[in-house]
Amino acid sequence: MSQITRRDLLKLGAASAGIAATGLGANMALGGTVRLAESGKDFSAETGKERQAIPSACWQCVTRDGIIGFVEDGRLVKIEGNPELPRTNGKLCARGQAGTNILYNPDRLLHPLKRVGKRGEGRWQQISWDDALGLLVDGGEIAGRKVKGLRALRDEGHPENFMFHYGRMKGSDGKIIKSHFLTAYGTKTIGNHTGICECTKWTAQELTWGSHYDNWDFDNTRFILNFGSNVLECHTNHVPMAQRCIAAMGRGVEMYTFDVRLSNTAAKSTEWVPIKPGTDLAVVLAMCHVLMANDLYDQPFIETYTNVSVEELKSHLATYTPEWAETISGVPAEKIRSIALAYGRAKPSVCISYRGAVMHYNGVQTERAILMLEAIAGNIDCPGGRCRAVGASWKFTFPTPKTKGKKLHILDGHKGAYAYPTHHASHQVFDMIRQGPERPDIYMIYCYNPVYVNGDVQGNIDLMKDEEKMPFIVACDVALSETAELADLVLPDATYLERWTCDDMVCPSQIKEFYIRQPMVKPLGSTRNFCDVVIDIAKRLGFDLGFESAEEFVRNGCENTPGVKEAGGFEYMKKHGAWYDRSAKPAYFSHAKAVDITGATLDEATGVYYNQQPGDTDYSSLDGKHAAKQYVAQKCGDGEAHRGFPPDSHRWKTGMLEIRSKALADKGFDAIPAWMAIPEHEAMGSDDLILTTYKVNVQTHSRSQNCKWLTEIYHENPAWIHPQVAQPLGVEDGDMITVTSSVGQITTKARVTEAITPGVVAISYHCGHWAWGGYASSKSCGENYGHACEPDCHNKWWGKGAHDKGPKVWRDGRGVHVNWIVPNAGDPIGGGQRWMDTVVKVAKA
């Protein structure tokens, strides 16, 4: 049919008229009647463009900066930082600016999909929301197999067999979905991703100073000591911290960075101190030793607010000399000594730490040792030191459901594996399901890509393909991830640029900053904010959450939160995006606050003043949750009642900064941080290397790679190895190598560089996607993936013409994902994934 004539048209038109008669084709998308104006005075390209500035909040990473989006013709054309906020001061990183790429990604998922082939076969059917939610709620057939829906699980009395597993869900999103919907439904089988993120650090802080998450007061510090934080590239509070860190260095503050790799942070530091992986603890202990030996300790702080004495510390630390630490860490003793002295004398100084130091077997004790160092130096919660985080707390008036939920015991790893998995062991969930006997009937993931982000990728894929062990998998995301491609039902989520949230990230100025996320544009296609979807699901199940939309929930927060309310509530927040008390003073020294103890009971054994309830015998008898709830104050070393360092709801502790932890001693660990060797590293052969992983400044862990601009900048992750390692293997820069661990092998490209400690191989995350759209996977037109027609897929240089030998083998323009060779293993205390401990062998490919 190369041509049709008018006659053909008449015939086809007459035949098609039948369709018009049925009404099937009437008014499909366009309403109104055709009225032809003579000129487009409302929409002239030259004069009629309306540009609207909408303040909102980023979500490209957990920092969630304040942003302003500029909308023209209904199209978001640009994102900038919101200059009115003290947290970010109007700055925004590359990831934030590339947010439009997530919104308008040509591989974006725009409609619900139901699987019609085998899992992972790639055969789908676009379905309506009505059908999709019908399937989720009432069950039905997927590719010839019957599955149970949410209603059946609840009617059977087992709502816990619905597991909800999220990757990123913060602020009021979490309130709506978790505290209201999932609670009302009755499941407590709710997984998160903190086990692969930073839970080791959090557990350590909870054991020591009660709450989790710390702030480093760069604005007022005089010295920065850094263990394994890539603070200038990828801190969890990136833009606020990076700008303050650089500003401090601009004032002449020195920063010493201990890292196995010359990260950009290390490169910007006063000095990069290379260190053997997993030995930061030894160096920190030695630094504590140096401070004690040189009388550089804050005796009043130690004796008032910690539960150890100066003498106990001296005695505990006596053998941890810099010379001893040198034998463990490879860092020269003199270097340790001189940096420790500089840190101790520069008061206030701050010791910062992140995944490089803590995502190890000994990570909890490393972080606790760092808190001990800060306590010794008197840098706790003071201007210029390490402070307890200050974030907004929103108030909502919707009553939370009182349903007593049930849960499957699959969130915290195998019984007894971890002493205090207070933030769960998310990397173990798949193994728990694999081993059974408890397994969810419905496994739902939300903004989470477990196949890609956990270790043992092949194991993850194999489990997800097992329809006996995982009968019904539902994914809610903005594009088809590696995990969603293995699901049965996929729900298209609204991006962060299309939805409502009350948000609350920590402000490094120690001031509460309240801010909201509001839609810049209407959700694209038939995508929907999942917070709105759960309201519908609840209605289908026969219960009402008490609010009709996420917008109503956010409005409620704005109208009821003290301060925000008086400023003008919802209307004010829509206009400005954020509110903070301009007269607020930064919150320091909260532990020193005097507390009125009238009516409280003193527990003599612990020195805790608490609200005794009927049945309590003493404070020590309370479980963690009640200890936190009933805590009033701590009788400190000065005999006075201070606010102290209260426990949070995760675990029991006193109100002292617990350098000596009874909780740890009870489980057989050292009560005061002591050296803890990494078993696998002790047993290494001469040709073994330690694999370390890292992140870069223009990518978020797993989900920013569908941003074209970002992936154009960063799309390959060669393995860094030192020339001393490469030479004996005959490997030169750019050669292909294999990297093999106990769980698998990848073939990748070598980057031979002196910017890494010998004995280490470093491979970044972000790369090697085999799904998540054409940009992330570097597959496009003419290949086996992606849209055929995006013009830049022909122009782009990354991955062009590269041969694809499968996801475990390097491909130009894509690199290879490192998690194929990282086993899922948690630290024995917090259960945090040991990203930096894997022992590997490298060979020339």
């Binding site: 049709i4 004539t5 008018r6 008449l10 369709i19 366009l30 199209r75 308008y104 544009v521 992606g786």
Partner: protein, 234 residues
């Protein structure tokens, strides 16, 4: 310049009637194509497609679609829905049904060309319905827009036949404007990306129904470009 064949078409009593019928036919053609590209087909749509008179005419036009429709209605519908999803949604090799992905320098959804299409459509007095769930430059919406314009043209032609003489001049002016706009839209939008979009469909699928619809769209646009140019010139 006029097309001689048009005068010999056996319809209506006068040239105005014939013009009206022609415009209405084009409208129905666009409507058909908009419908089949809007989303996965429903059983009702499939039933229409495989029944007379549409089935015969499609056959006569050389559209090799009959093979697609054999079998139980539910199964046929599901197969076509799967073909639609594979072809226009992915995640495998697929072709984006949005103009901006095909035509804009940035190749993203809701690009500059989307804004242009939206503005163009809204300038004609039409608006996007509150519950529509697509993006303004989806192939189906551009085709639906042509459906609406051509239906309006047919209305105007009919008015010219029946109405008082005094209105004729105004109607003629409106008719000219309507054709001008069609031509402009075909030139500035549809013909810029749709022929290539159809080529991609032809390359990417063996699902003959959508292959045949792609060929039909290409042919319709080619024919219409020629005709609107001719009408505008006259």
């Amino acid at each position: 310049m006029t097309d001689r064949r048009s005068t010999s078409l056996p319809s209506g009593s006068g040239p105005e009637d014939q013009e009206s019928v022609r415009a209405l036919s084009r409208s129905h053609c666009y409507g058909l194509l908009a419908l089949v590209l809007r989303g996965p087909p429903t059983e009702q749509i499939v039933e229409q497609l495989r029944s007379p008179p549409l089935a015969e005419v499609l056959g006569e036009l050389g559209c090799d679609v009959a093979g697609n429709f054999a079998g139980e209605l539910g199964a046929v519908t599901q197969r076509l829905a799967e073909d639609y999803t594979r072809l226009f949604v992915g995640p495998g090799p697929h072709v984006s049904p949005y103009a901006s992905v095909n035509d804009d320098r940035e190749g993203q959804l809701w690009g500059e060309s989307t804004a242009r299409v939206k503005r163009f459509i809204e300038q004609t007095g039409l608006s996007f319905e509150g519950d529509w769930d697509s993006i303004p430059d989806h192939i189906a919406i551009e085709l639906e827009f042509m459906q609406r314009l051509t239906a309006h043209e047919a209305d105007l032609c009919a008015q010219r036949t029946g109405g008082p003489k005094s209105n004729q001049q105004e109607i003629d002016r409106q008719l000219h404007r309507c054709r001008q706009i069609q031509h402009q839209f075909l030139h500035e939008h549809l013909s810029r990306w749709v022929p290539q979009f159809c080529d991609h469909i032809l390359k990417l699928t063996n699902a003959s129904f959508y292959r045949e619809m792609a060929k039909l769209i290409q042919a319709l646009i080619a024919c219409d470009l020629q005709q609107t140019a001719a009408q505008e010139a006259s």
